[in-house]
Symmetry: C2
């Protein structure tokens, strides 16, 4: 690892916010040094409570998040926020406005906010979010909140990183929720019916509770809470439910098994991602260009070309070599 | 490759439907022989027209598909259908009913229908769909339709495989469409407003056309068609629009560039997937067990473990070896 990266890591671990921001940028750009860098952060993994907050657009997540930050700050927690935005260029506007609203906490030294956006690669967001969460933890944040908008596959994958997943819904979004229900039910550790002063809130709560009966039996029973984030109603109950879920993960047999599986999954994803990065770099050396041209022109079958590359001694050696260099 | 796989491939290429079904099962299960198998299918890639059909649940896709199959069969095409179902166990019911309805064509020798379901792995569906499409093409199908329900990330990824993407929407689904619009706009080559005899159809059409103006300029201008699939209205126009889009891909400079990019992407994904499979197999040999246990118990940091594995001489050699064996 280049010496300046060591310096940067040391400065970050010593509490330098600018160094943290730089490291995030390095890691997000999939720099070749990412794995080294991440493996140097030291034995703090799993100390922070990683909370996922998701739900359809318009559910009031930003306001809820604002309230959560305030609660945790009042209790002297150090907070990291990862705002994941898998949106397309077309829908970027509204989300951006949300981000700006959240910046009300950005002057608070105890809150670090970072947005991540998709850039098209499958799994890229999840990888980046995982790295950033780990960096924030090493930096000393003990509450890390990952927020996503929408509930597509990308969002579910990101949510899988979290210890505790909070799904926020609102009474109005009937149709949307209908379509999304299945996915939401599976990932939620806590349901929040926000804007609970509106019509239909209690019906939605009852409906969710009924559907939750379909989940496999578990030592954790998913609560359906109601909040009115705009005036803070229900926030204390939410914060304490999150604490209880955290305790469940740390103390119960089922919870500990889940945490263990999470750590193993993190390891596995890291190996997979690192190899994928190396493949990309190996393929970008010039010697494959003629083959690539033939593939593009339809002269060589893509599968045949893949077999050729992967059976190539030098190609595989280059995967090894990049594991030793630097 | 084991001798019986060669026999199976030969039988499939000679038109044996049972052999095709077996090969699909082999490939879907990520058998180690997949890449070899796929690279032996020979030089027919890109001959079939690969059509993607997607849209929110309730848009009438199954009825539309039924009509499409009938049209293409009347014109003596050989048809393959890949019904992709990324749904959770909770929402499986409705989709299953759709599938059964489609089976009305399953007695027709000229139609081969195969369902694929998620099984949780990111990218797994897309990989399987790509392989199956290629197999169907090698089998002699010249129209291959990939159908997905919903418009999450998984579905978009699957749609990216298709030459021509048809997005089906209905007037009622206002809210849902609102939320999905951005993603749908990006992937659609043809929009279909189905159930166009209902209120709001023309407004939706106009709205979609207005939003399509936001797309980057292209030699292909995305048509917004209207259909009433239940009584066949508008189906001829849809079939001919699909034909025109196919022609655009084959003849225009932009279309050909897109096809070339698709072939390269297929190659790249294949390399990536194959390495990921090999990694999984390599890690499943016993010698990593103690390290995995430490990772699970939180004694070794996941990133550190990943670095250890990936720097291991034997691990990388096992990646090479599996490329030579068999």
């Amino acid at each position: 690892m280049p010496a300046d990266y060591e310096v940067l890591t040391d400065r970050m671990l010593a509490g330098d916010k600018a160094a943290l921001a730089k490291l995030i940028t390095i890691v997000e750009s999939r720099a070749p040094e990412t794995l080294w860098l991440m493996s140097r952060l030291g034995g703090k993994s799993g100390q922070a409570h990683l909370i996922g907050v998701t739900g359809p657009p318009g559910a009031g997540k930003s306001t809820l998040l604002d309230r959560l930050i305030a609660s945790y700050r009042a209790a002297r927690h150090e907070i990291g926020i990862i705002a994941v935005d898998p949106s397309s260029p077309f829908s970027g506007g509204a989300v951006l406005a949300d981000r700006i609203r959240m910046q009300s906490h950005s002057l608070d030294e105890g809150v670090f906010i970072r947005s991540l956006s998709a850039r098209g690669s499958v799994g890229g967001l999840t990888r980046a979010a995982r790295h950033v969460a780990r960096l924030l933890e090493a930096f000393g944040k003990d509450i890390i909140i990952v927020e996503t908008v929408g509930v597509g596959q990308n969002e579910s994958d990101v949510m899988r990183l979290a210890d505790t997943v909070v799904v926020v819904v609102v009474p109005e979004a009937g149709d949307t929720i209908q379509a999304m229900k299945a996915g939401l039910l599976e990932i939620a550790d806590i349901f929040v019916v926000n804007k609970a002063d509106r019509e239909g809130a209690m019906r939605l709560k009852a409906e969710l509770e009924a559907m939750l009966q379909l989940r496999p039996a578990s030592a954790w029973s998913v609560p359906v809470l109601t909040t009115v984030a705009t005036d803070g109603k229900g926030m204390d109950a939410l914060v304490s439910a999150m604490g209880e879920h955290r305790k469940f993960l740390q103390e119960g047999g089922e919870g500990r098994a889940r945490a263990a599986a999470g750590r193993y999954e993190e390891f596995l994803s890291t190996v997979r991602d690192e190899l994928a990065s190396r493949v990309e770099r190996s393929l970008s050396d010039g010697r494959w260009k003629p083959l690539f041209r033939q593939v593009r022109q339809g002269e060589v079958d893509p599968y045949e070309a893949a077999l050729r590359v992967i059976s190539d001694e030098k190609f595989v050696q280059s995967l090894v070599k990049s594991s030793r260099a630097r």
